[in-house]
């Protein structure tokens, strides 16, 4: 059937990206593999409703996000996975992690990814949605069922925590070395 053929082409093309998304959201390799299969399974079932004008990635990423967030909610046994905004602002005020910009710039992506993987679900998920999935604050707010401002708070907190982890795991040594390996990229 032409439909199956088309779907299998998309499956092969997007498997790695969907797996990457699930892996970043769920961390565990095994859970990510299952979630990827489940995502494609759900996509296959509602493939008839997919609008070919739309980018496939957006569509399948939304399915993967929904599934992974459901999984995380089930794991944490709470719909309030992302806390409430007021409490988050209090946390923010008290958290005083030093900005180690140079360290961040020097770090290789592996260390950053490892640092991100240690974040609690509620910070890691918005981070992945915003910078891997490239979703807008509004989209993330809808996806996580929280306010737009709350998304900003979670992201800020997430970034600060990544810095905190990096400071712990990679204490600053000679600041002059930074210049040689500065990395950058456009968003």
């Amino acid at each position: 059937m032409a439909r199956n053929k088309a779907f299998e082409v998309l499956y092969r093309e997007y498997y790695v990206r969907v797996f990457g998304l699930c892996r970043r959201l769920l961390i565990s390799q095994e859970l990510a593999e299952d979630a990827t299969q489940e995502t494609f399974m759900r996509a296959y079932k509602s493939f008839g409703k997919f609008d070919a004008e739309q980018p496939f990635w957006q569509w399948i990423a939304a399915i993967a996000n929904n599934h992974c967030i459901d999984k995380l909610r089930a794991k944490n046994r709470s719909d309030q996975l992302f806390g409430d905004e007021a409490g988050e602002l209090e946390n923010l005020a008290s958290a005083d992690v030093p900005v180690v910009q140079r360290l961040i710039a020097r770090e290789d992506t592996d260390a950053l990814n490892l640092a991100m993987a240690t974040l609690p679900d509620k910070y890691r998920v918005p981070l992945v949605l915003a910078y891997f999935n490239q979703l807008s604050y509004d989209d993330i707010a809808v996806q996580l069922d929280i306010s737009r401002n709350h998304v900003g708070v979670l992201l800020l907190r997430a970034k600060k925590m990544v810095r905190g982890v990096l400071v712990e795991t990679h204490p600053p040594t000679d600041p002059d070395q930074d210049q040689t390996s500065r990395k950058g990229g456009s968003v």
């Binding site: 199956n4 499956y11 092969r12 399974m41 961040i104 992506t109 981070l127």
Partner: protein, 548 residues
């Protein structure tokens, strides 16, 4: 002047500030070097973070696993429902045609005439002979049609696409077998209300089926004879087999093959039977001029054997009298056994009669072997199986064979190493699939056996069913063994896993009282796992085939 908050800076770097705030922030940044520096840091940090999160370092799937299509279970259910429908239709038709028409016909006949078993049998045979063939053709046609639709559905579901040609091919074969004219049948039918006669001068080179009040065979039949009526007399010769059911059967001629029959009186007078003679009736006699070359099996009230029997004699008659030679052993169940003067049993005589005084042996009667009196076998032996050595030897043999088969199974299908019964709904699903398979396979086999082309399929299905039943406990043994050894150093050893699992299962199924239930549950679950594995295997093969 108030500096921008970290949140404002972060959101600005993300280009996510609300419009009304952007204006204010931009204005502030123009005049504040501190905040400009912080924003630069935040932007740089964002770039690095995005680069890191987008990098492929985390993506390490060894290979893209094949996509497992999600609907295999529903397809399986669909095929099962279709099977159920076919069986229901077949039953419905069977009831309508054979139940209503034939049985009502017989009832009608017996209400008009004096109820006489042989008359009714004869009348029924007439109905069958006249109408039955057409009825059976219609019935067969419907079954073939249903089965071929089912087969097509199944092939379409399992193989889809290109391989659907195979199912179409099968459809054509099945279809042709229905519409093609049946081979010229070498059967001659003769029926008459009064009498069917094969005259002395007549020779029939076919199988003869005769139904009538009286059947007189004076001529020769080169083939088999099937005769039913009130009276069957065979004076001529039959080169093949004879099946005769009548109130009185008398055979005076020679029969080349075996004779099977029943009648109130069944007599052989100066007749020779080339094969076995198997008869049941009120009064049975083989006179001194007759001869049976094979075994003689008789069941009934009175049996008198005066002609020689070539091989064994088995008698289930109340009273049996033997006055001739028996080539091999004689075995008699009954009330009285008499060996008369001319009796000569070359082998042993085993008598299962209530007491020795019910055995009469004339002075001249000879038994070359021994005469044994055996008790009527007890229906149940009160032996505790757990106290016998054979029981444990058997269990050991079962264990060893399960080990060998299990290892071979793992070698052939490595996926069984991970097959597991899930908790909750998954476990129920496995059990459901297993139950459906255990019940439906023999039914499917029985239904497709009705069609001529279906017989090999039916055989294959039955063999698969038996194999599934045997493998079920081994697969469950693997699962149990793996679960038990999960946290030990033996968790990677197939032999240890199988050994532990099979020992547990053998003990469980031999538990008194609940062993049977345990065995059934294990079988159902095991068959469920096997079927799920097969379905998954088919789906994988499909995906691979369509991807390559």
């Amino acid at each position: 002047m108030n500096h921008l908050t970290d949140l404002q800076l972060s959101m600005h770097a993300d280009a996510a500030l609300p419009e009304d705030e952007v204006q204010m922030v931009v204005q502030h940044l123009e005049s504040c070097a501190t905040c400009q520096a912080k924003l630069a840091e935040a932007s740089a940090e964002l770039s690095v973070l995005t680069l890191a999160v987008q990098s492929q370092t985390l993506e390490t799937p060894a290979a893209i696993p094949p996509f497992v299509y999600p609907t295999s279970i529903s397809r399986f259910a669909m095929v099962n429902i279709a099977t159920g429908l076919v069986i229901w239709l077949a039953q419905f038709l069977w009831k309508t045609i054979f139940g209503e028409m034939v049985m009502n016909g017989v009832a009608w006949l017996s209400s008009i005439y004096i109820p006489d078993l042989y008359e009714v049998a004869s009348a029924t045979a007439l109905v069958y002979l006249e109408e039955g063939t057409a009825m059976f053709d219609a019935y067969l046609g419907l079954i073939v049609l249903c089965v071929s639709i089912l087969t097509t559905l199944w092939f379409l579901a399992v193989y889809r696409k290109s391989q659907a040609a195979l199912s179409v091919g099968l459809m054509v074969v099945v279809g042709l077998s229905v519409v093609a004219p049946s081979p010229a049948n070498a059967i001659e039918l003769r029926r008459d209300q009064e009498v069917v006669t094969v005259a002395e001068t007549e020779t029939i080179n076919d199988t003869l089926v005769a139904a009538s009040e009286t059947i007189l065979i004076r001529g020769n039949i080169v083939g088999d004879l099937l005769a039913t009526g009130r009276r069957v007399d065979i004076d001529g010769s039959v080169s093949g087999n004879v099946m005769a059911f009548a109130e009185s059967v008398t055979i005076r001629g020679s029969v080349g093959g075996l004779v099977i029959g029943a009648g109130s009186t069944f007599e052989l007078e100066g007749s020779s039977v080339g094969g076995n003679l198997v008869v049941a009736g009120e009064k049975l006699s083989v006179d001194s001029r007759s001869e049976v070359a094979g075994n003689l099996v008789i069941a009934g009230n009175n049996a008198a054997i005066e002609g020689p029997v070539g091989k064994d004699l088995y008698s289930f008659a109340e009273i049996v009298e033997v006055n001739s030679s028996v080539g091999q052993n004689m075995e008699a169940f009954g009330n009285r056994v008499r060996l008369l003067d001319d009796a000569h049993v070359v082998g042993n005589a085993r008598l299962r009669i209530k007491s020795e005084d019910r055995f009469h042996r004339a002075a001249g009667a000879k038994v070359d072997g021994v005469v044994e009196f055996l008790d009527v076998p007890k229906r149940f032996e009160d032996v505790n199986p757990y106290t016998t050595v054979t029981f444990y030897l058997w269990q050991l043999a079962r264990l060893v064979s399960a080990l060998l088969v299990g290892l071979a199974l793992l070698w052939l299908v490595p996926a069984f190493r991970t097959a597991a019964v899930g908790g909750g709904v998954e476990g129920l699903k496995t059990a459901g699939i297993g139950l459906i398979a255990v019940i439906s396979l023999p039914i499917v086999a029985a239904v497709i056996a009705f069609t001529l082309v279906g017989i090999p399929f039916s055989f294959v299905t039955l063999v698969a069913w038996v194999v599934f039943l045997y493998l079920a406990k081994i697969v469950m043994g693997l699962f149990v063994g793996r679960t038990l050894l999960a946290n030990t150093k033996y968790k990677a050893s197939d032999v240890a896993i199988l050994l532990v699992g099979m020992i547990v299962i053998l003990i469980a199924v031999n538990l008194p009282a609940i062993g049977g239930v345990v065995s059934f549950i294990l079988t159902v679950l095991g068959v469920g796992l096997i079927v799920q594995r097969l379905l998954a295997g088919l789906a994988e093969r499909n995906t691979e085939a369509s991807l390559s």
